[in-house]
Symmetry: C2
Subunit: 425 residues, 2 copies
């Protein structure tokens, strides 16, 4: 396509990951190599900052800071969960869209790259379509990002490899701890992980087993399958009889047969006859201790898992960076309206390498990709070899984080703001 001189705007959206900044570094470094891109701006806190004309002048950042983003967790530009919600709040969304194009026009933005998950790809798609409708020449490219790994078409989502590397390491370590404490009385430990309605994160902890059935995790509860309390308890019992202990990994979004989230289940009562409401791990603990009289401990890793740069996957970080580079290239080359995807090229001995491709945003928006049933064992309590073959290469290699006084050194953008040209929103 014809060269399109103008400025590039990049922003980050949704929950941060250990490698979303690696994608940002890829965008910025590749954009810097293209002469048709004049200025590089960052939206502060995603679309929300753009609406507020709160733009960061990335050319003011030091090159070494941009490089250091490759080992810095969370969203350096700031992020948001703001949606252009045409269904729920159509008037607000229409006003937002007008404002957005005012800002794009005022700052001569011709390239817009949005790094995010399902909702953000949907936002990118809407902006792409709106630009066509308005006849405003804009190259929109989406960069995939989500620890949940639930975007379609891409082999995996940047952020996923790192979260499962950290979680598998944690489950391995917790497992050794619980095993060393276990006596004839038996012991159970439940680790709650993120992933919402997708089981990818929970499934990834299977790598801690290294193919040994006796090693933890012994059970993985995936939201893709219905949680059956009786079968679950039977499996815990069986495991404790065989190994003295049982490590369970539970996806936060598992549901019972009635379709209710187990972590928010109000049908179970504690010793005082009151409902238990504190998440899946606490709920399952209550069930295991109450019904099996088995001492149970929990861990609920929360945000720790998605920000764990100190245990991030190099394969993941490199792929995140490559997606950023590919997005900037695709924006320059045109046409508008794609998401970068990762394409797997099978290697030898279970290794893998990857390249990038493009997928129309129209295909991607609001499609949720779950763990396929044929990647799960028949009894539903563990992912099988097919899953392991898929996941193992994603955690290869370690991101080298510079240390100072025993703690990681993470980069921080200067965040010099671009002068505003419009009245406040």
């Amino acid at each position: 396509m014809a060269e399109l001189p103008g400025n590039l705007l990049v922003a980050q959206s949704g929950g941060p990951t250990a490698v979303i900044n690696a994608s940002l570094a890829g965008v910025v470094q590749e954009a810097g190599r293209n002469e048709c891109i004049q200025e590089i701006f960052g939206g502060a806190n995603g679309i929300l900052g753009i609406l507020n004309e709160d733009l960061i002048d990335i050319n003011e950042e030091k090159a070494k800071t941009i490089e250091a983003l490759r080992h810095t967790p969370a969203a350096a530009l700031g992020t948001c969960r703001y949606k252009l919600d045409f269904k729920g709040r159509p008037e607000q969304a229409a006003a937002d869209m007008d404002r957005l194009f005012e800002v794009l026009q005022a700052h001569e933005i011709r390239y817009f790259i949005y790094i995010g998950g399902n909702d953000s790809q949907d936002t990118s798609h809407k902006i792409h379509e709106e630009a066509l409708k308005r006849g405003y020449e804009l190259r929109v490219v989406g960069v995939p990002k989500t620890i949940d790994n639930d975007l379609p078409f891409t082999d995996h989502c940047p952020g996923y490899g790192s979260v499962i590397k950290y979680n598998a390491t944690t489950v391995m370590e917790v497992g050794i701890d619980v095993a060393s404490m276990a006596t004839e009385d038996g012991a159970c430990c439940i680790v709650e992980v993120m992933g919402r309605s997708a089981g990818w994160i929970a499934a990834g902890t299977v790598l801690a087993k290294r193919g040994n059935p006796a090693s933890p995790p012994h059970l993985i509860l995936l939201p893709e399958l219905v949680f059956d309390e009786e079968k679950f308890l039977a499996k815990v019992s069986e495991t404790v009889q065989a190994h003295r202990y049982c490590v369970v990994v539970a996806g936060e979004g598992i549901k019972n047969a009635a379709g209710e989230e187990v972590g928010a289940d109000k049908t179970h009562l504690d010793a005082f006859g009151h409902p238990v409401l504190a998440g899946v791990a606490e709920k399952l603990k209550q069930v295991v201790e109450g019904r099996l009289k088995l001492k149970t401990r929990t861990a609920m890793l929360g945000y720790a898992q998605r920000a764990a740069e100190h245990c991030a996957s190099l394969a993941d970080s490199n792929n995140a960076f490559a997606c950023g580079e590919a997005a900037a290239r695709a924006a320059v080359a045109g046409p508008s309206g794609s998401m970068v995807k990762i394409v797997r090229e099978a290697g030898v001995d279970g290794s893998a390498s990857w390249s990038t491709g493009l997928q129309p945003l129209a295909d991607v928006a609001n499609v949720e990709h779950l763990v396929p049933r044929e990647w799960i064992t028949e009894d539903g309590f563990l992912p099988n070899e097919k899953f392991i073959e898929y996941a193992r290469p994603l955690i290869e290699g370690e991101v080298a984080v510079p240390m100072e006084n025993g703690l990681p050194n993470y980069a921080r953008l200067e965040g010099v703001r671009v002068e505003k040209k419009l009245p406040p929103r």
Copy 2:
């Protein structure tokens, strides 16, 4: 003292840590250098295994496995929480003591090294006194171990440096995550850490601030001070106004003015009018969301923090190893009845080096060492410079863990059992 030919028995007790195996490696390697020590046995699951005559023949282990214990978390010999409880169950305790000496005698044990926390030092002390009473020549030496850091006389306890290195890293990472998500609506995140009634672990996360008042953690709730809900909420509000977000670290054992544990507090009701019972972080979340209308997330690291070898402190691991070596040396040299302690030698520029010393077990048993009030800021919400000066050197350096396919490689003992000589207990 005179040379005492015989066998050495080493065992691990209480909650595991990232470096309790480094102490074991120190004991075994130093014992192997002493000719008066003939065989080296390990008690499987601490005193419980000894009572069951369940002994591991450590001479059957490969030298490289023993060396690999220096980077392997949890208790390789197994551990227990079994007590010689002369107050609560005097008859059982007396029978246990008889059985214990039968086992020691049957296996010609002349050296007994017990690696553990407060309760274990008490057990060692009782065994030492009993040996004197019985005229059974036995050299008992305790090795300090506890993530809680609440043993007296020793500068710090092996295990503590690693847990605060991991927790400070986690709080730093979670803090960057929450900061990048924070918009004008504000956000709060509460991280619950271990330590029971001692605040050492919670206090250690202050290192994540690196001296910057704006950096997380913004508040640290120590069990040493009474939890005051009003002051706490005021501080959270103030912090969110200043920085848009607030990261709180809460010791699991914090108590209110009535002396009740906040995590088990039954005076607060949830939206259904029922008590909240799921730990401190969940409890505080309820309070912050309910009273400040501030979106709040929690992380409850549980066992993950005490087994996190992948983020262990080299200074801590080296000190743990040195304590093990010193214990074997002290046992050979005699007399019986000491705990190894770590002695700090101040270095330049806030650095430190350490040597080991000995403290009579009689002084140590059942004394709990808490965070001194003068190491906490006046308002009670953060440890001060005195604490930081103490804690900073403890997290220096990283334990190099060998990796395979993206995950740590941890050692596992063969665990060949010593032939039993006695009838079952």
